[in-house]
Symmetry: C2
Subunit: 216 residues, 2 copies
DNA sequence: GCAGCAATAGTCATTAGGGACTAAGCGAGT
DNA sequence: ACTCGCTTAGTCCCTAATGACTATTGCTGC
């Protein structure tokens, strides 16, 4: 197999190059960021590109698209530190052929790459199952997040900064009663009873993932 | 050099084993968690242990201590995904000899390991500078954190979980008036005016670093 | 045009939270 | 023995937050 590897950790990048080489494969390029990876794929047209998901929000997922554009025959396999079923789904939808965790032994990763090249989907069955099944059930307190309006996200931001209703009203340029209503609706939607609980919900679970892209 | 490597990513672990081997060093053991690492160090008494910092809060830092206990002649070099000057300081204080980022090439990491074995401090000068300089001035809102009592840390935990005074009192097994006093003192020490601001302070800055080790 | 939704603004009653105190029991260190 | 600091517990007063409403404006899609 001819492989392009992309990861922001030079250490892993080099070590992977050696390991894959030792396993009898040809690593044609090492990329430190998605741009380099795209350029390398366009130039070398490898069989597969091993791409780390740990790039600033969304960058990796967008890169999948571009890689497939510049070289349709190149399969993309995502490499990640944690098994995040939320990302798996996104990656597959965007055109990735596989998803493997860094906690796996090299032999298994090579196996996955091989499967991807053979045109199969290279994802752990259990992970894929979770990626597809839990279509954010209504039970999930985070399910409600997708129904928050833009204004409510702004309010959420204020809450997480510890602002009072008045500071919030000031910041948003509205009456305090309006800010209050937004907070009220936010709390109702999230099913919690205080701004503090809302803040706890956000900081505990949806660190960056659940935040809408266009609002940073 | 005889080396023990500890990281929760098997991939990196194996690849590092190969790469360090190729660089002419002997990797005597690979550990997937701190416990394994401590056991391996005790058994093999290596020159140096390369230890990932990315284990659940504080575990890694505590491991440094234990490794130095079971084998005083073994140097500990921390390996991390991001250059976090808050952790660097802690690691050095706890007995680590070095700190390198995964974004560095293998050659540099080997260089650092070598330095550690020779008894020198293996930390990037710039990083060390930042780790030592901001001696938590009184201006820093986080400076106060080190004066929190154990009870107040527990209260802080409750606050960050969005609990009310009564839930907190229940959880701590005290009267609500007592819980209230703790909250009051906590707010005063942090110089904030609401629990929400306290929570914001914690979730914004001191994610895991500033949390006392013995309280998870 | 009308239904639906978001954003705006308001009311009233109730509860929770915060500021500023006082004070007692208890353990560690001097 | 004495002090210091942590933990415990309490008070009074006031402000902020919440629940449960209603209502208007403006935009979008049918």
């Amino acid at each position: 197999m001819r492989i392009v590897v992309c990861d922001d950790h030079l250490l892993l990048l080099e070590a992977l190059g050696l390991a894959l080489g030792a396993a009898g494969h040809e690593v044609v390029a090492l990329a430190g960021n998605p741009e380099e990876a795209i350029a390398a794929v366009e130039m070398h047209k490898p069989d597969v590109c091993l791409l780390d998901v740990n790039f600033p929000s969304g960058t990796s997922v967008m890169a999948i698209h571009q890689i497939r554009e510049v070289s349709a025959e190149t399969k993309v396999v995502m490499l990640s530190a944690e098994a995040d079923h939320a990302i798996v789904g996104r990656a597959i939808v965007e055109g990735a052929s596989g998803y493997v965790g860094k906690e796996k032994p090299i032999a298994e990763i090579v196996e996955m790459l091989d499967r991807a090249v053979r045109g199969q989907l290279a994802v752990e069955p259990a992970l894929l199952q979770r990626a597809l099944r839990p279509q954010k059930s209504t039970e999930d307190p985070l399910w409600a997040l997708q129904f928050l309006t833009d204004r409510e996200w702004q309010v959420m931001r204020c809450i997480m900064e510890g602002q009072t209703t008045e500071e919030m009203a000031e910041a948003l340029g509205v009456q305090r009663s309006t800010a209050r209503t937004h907070v009220q609706n936010l709390l109702t939607k999230l099913g919690v009873h205080s701004r503090l609980q809302a803040a706890a919900l956000m900081s505990a679970h949806g660190s960056l993932d659940s935040w809408p892209v266009h609002l940073r």
